[in-house]
């Protein structure tokens, strides 16, 4: 069952640009320029794109904060803007750059208040809170006012706040932004565990591609308000011809005019003692290594997986 559907979704903003000393001209900026996308229940979708690509705008339209200029959008069978308050009961949202907790109140009070706002039965609330407390280690700062929390602590609080009413869709807008390595890992493994149950559909925007690699099977890349890729990470590599790289250290340089089937020589360094090859997608690393061993004696070798950041950078520049 589709949880999220977007058909020809657009959002145009009108901006005024100074054209003279007093004159201003209205210009239309396409933030989202016609997106068609469907997300099934239980999917974990990574939604990425360069700054200003339209990620947050899409998320705001999906959550009912922003009215689309045109197109259709439905989340959990509801129209986000007209049915925003009903939708709010079935979705959870975490904005990495904003807080939805009460600045002056201890985390514990914020959670209690959310129970009343979402009218969650006490036992269900208690069970979810208990689960989050143990998974996210909240206990040590549960009584600290939100304004005194560190970013990592606050983000763990935000995740809990977004989940206490048991949403069936969770929207995360850059949930790991600004977090240290340990906090990032905590957030990621929590989300991975959440996603593994299949109960919650997860849409995640991020600039940290490690989040995507760790969490999302499906990757949607958006640029200039349009979807430029929709599929698995492997499909993205295949499409952009990403190759694994084999680096070998040799005791003796390779003979002149050599050829290794299934691999392209990329570089020769250290007087021919170090060679790098890109493996063609069809070839197996083992066969290439065996072939190389017949040409020269090998001291060491390493195999480098294609870097998703490179692929995405190529995609953004395209």
């Amino acid at each position: 069952m589709s949880v999220i559907t977007m058909r020809g979704l657009r959002k145009d903003f009108t901006v005024r640009v100074r054209t003279g000393r007093l004159r201003r001209e209205k210009r239309t900026v396409e933030a989202v320029a016609g997106i068609d996308l469907t997300v099934e229940a239980g999917e974990m979708v990574g939604y990425i794109g360069p700054n200003g690509a339209g990620k947050s705008t899409t998320l705001k339209m999906l959550t009912g904060v922003l009215t689309p200029s045109s197109g259709e959008v439905s989340v959990c069978g509801l129209a986000p803007v007209p049915q925003r308050t009903r939708l709010a009961l079935t979705i959870g949202v975490v904005f990495g750059q904003r807080s939805q907790l009460w600045w002056d109140l201890p985390l514990r009070d914020s959670f209690a208040l959310l129970r009343h706002i979402y009218r969650v039965p006490p036992d269900a609330h208690a069970a979810r809170l208990r689960r989050c407390r143990s998974l996210l280690d909240l206990d040590e700062f549960l009584d600290t006012p939100v304004r005194q929390l560190s970013l990592g602590q606050r983000m763990r609080g935000e995740l809990t706040a977004a989940l206490l009413h048991g949403p069936s869709v969770l929207f995360l807008d850059e949930p790991t932004i600004g977090l240290d390595v340990v906090s990032k890992q905590a957030v990621r493994s929590f989300l991975a565990e959440l996603g593994a149950t299949g109960d919650v559909t997860l849409v995640l925007t991020t600039h940290d591609l490690a989040d995507i690699e760790r969490l999302c099977r499906r990757l949607v890349v958006i640029d200039h308000g349009r979807v430029v890729h929709d599929g698995t990470i492997e499909a993205l590599h295949a499409r952009y011809g990403s190759r694994r790289r084999l680096v070998v250290d040799l005791d003796t340089p390779l003979p002149p005019g050599f050829a290794v089937p299934g691999a392209d020589l990329v570089s020769l360094e250290a007087d021919g003692h170090r060679a790098s090859f890109d493996l063609l997608s069809s070839s197996a690393a083992g066969a290439v290594v065996a072939e190389l061993a017949t040409l020269a004696s090998m001291r060491d070798l390493s195999l480098v997986e294609p870097d998703i950041e490179d692929v995405v950078a190529r995609l953004y520049r395209a």
Partner: protein, 286 residues
């Protein structure tokens, strides 16, 4: 992940009203709690209000002493002293000065988080504001009034219904003031920066609500025009007049009814403005 699993459980579906009241109550309590965390600010604020209470009280008592029969604009000395001290206390209860929370949240884009809650934004701000007012009633209204009662002769109401009517009048004053503040703050949806309208509000509210001097000092035609044509007298002048029994009982009740009309109109207008704002809303920031 059991226990975190999804779907909103039946939220007291048979008792939606009770659920709404509980939510409203919890939000109000949060407003009370938020202000209760700033104890030093509360003490400093009460102290300042008290100091200015003395100044204003002496000025108005001098006016009364100079007036024919010791009555200025229909108030005797006790009524004027009470007017001043009640005004000094209510000043913070109705939050006549400075409330920029909504404007700040619009400016920073944090208002998006308010829209993601299953509560109407006007209600979502009104309920905590009532909690804030309840906190102010205990910690900002009573201390100056107590000091005033120790140093001056204050007016004791003679009609049995005056105190309950005053309580209602204060509640309506808070709601009216909230409506106005919400509208002034909401200009930030269009202007991005509401400092101009907020300054205008602070300047006009002080004069037009009767903080600086009782509006009865003005010519009748002007006072009546202000009362009927603007919500401002309902913020401070009406509750104070109700408590000091400035008018006969029917007028006393009519003033509160007028307050109620204004409060309802302002809340309605706030809801309309909010709806318009949401249509054109550009939540700031990524």
């Amino acid at each position: 992940m059991n226990g975190l699993d999804a779907r909103v459980p039946g939220i007291s579906p048979d008792r939606p009203f009770r659920g709404r009241v509980t939510t409203f109550g919890a939000l109000s309590w949060s407003g009370f709690r938020r202000y209760a965390t700033y104890r030093q600010a509360t003490i400093a604020g009460s102290f300042t209000n008290t100091v200015f209470g003395f100044l204003r009280c002496y000025v108005l008592l001098a006016v009364a002493a100079g007036a024919a029969g010791g009555r200025a604009a229909g108030y005797d000395a006790e009524q004027l002293a009470t007017f001043v001290w009640v005004g000094q206390g209510l000043l913070t209860v109705v939050s006549l000065w400075g409330w920029t929370e909504l404007a700040d949240r619009i400016r920073s884009g944090d208002v998006a988080a308010d829209l993601l809650r299953p509560v109407h934004p006007v209600i979502g701000y009104l309920a905590p504001d009532l909690g804030r007012a309840a906190h102010a009633m205990i910690f900002r209204f009573l201390p100056p009034l107590t000091v005033g009662a120790l140093f001056f002769d204050l007016y004791a109401p003679s009609r049995w219904f005056t105190v309950p009517l005053f309580a209602l009048s204060v509640l309506l004053a808070v709601i009216g003031s909230f409506g106005l503040r919400f509208l002034v703050n909401a200009t930030a949806y269009w202007l991005h920066d509401a400092r101009g309208p907020i300054t205008l509000w602070v300047l006009s509210a002080g004069v037009l609500a009767g903080l600086y001097f009782p509006l009865r000092f003005l010519p009748d035609w002007l006072a009546v025009t202000l009362w009927v044509g603007t919500p401002f007298p309902g913020l401070l002048q009406t509750p104070a007049d109700v408590l000091v029994e400035r008018d006969p009982a029917p007028v006393q009740a009519a003033l509160v009814a007028l307050q109620a009309l204004w409060a309802a109109a302002l809340l309605g207008l706030a809801a309309v403005v909010q709806r318009r704002a949401e249509k054109r809303l550009v939540a700031q920031g990524g």
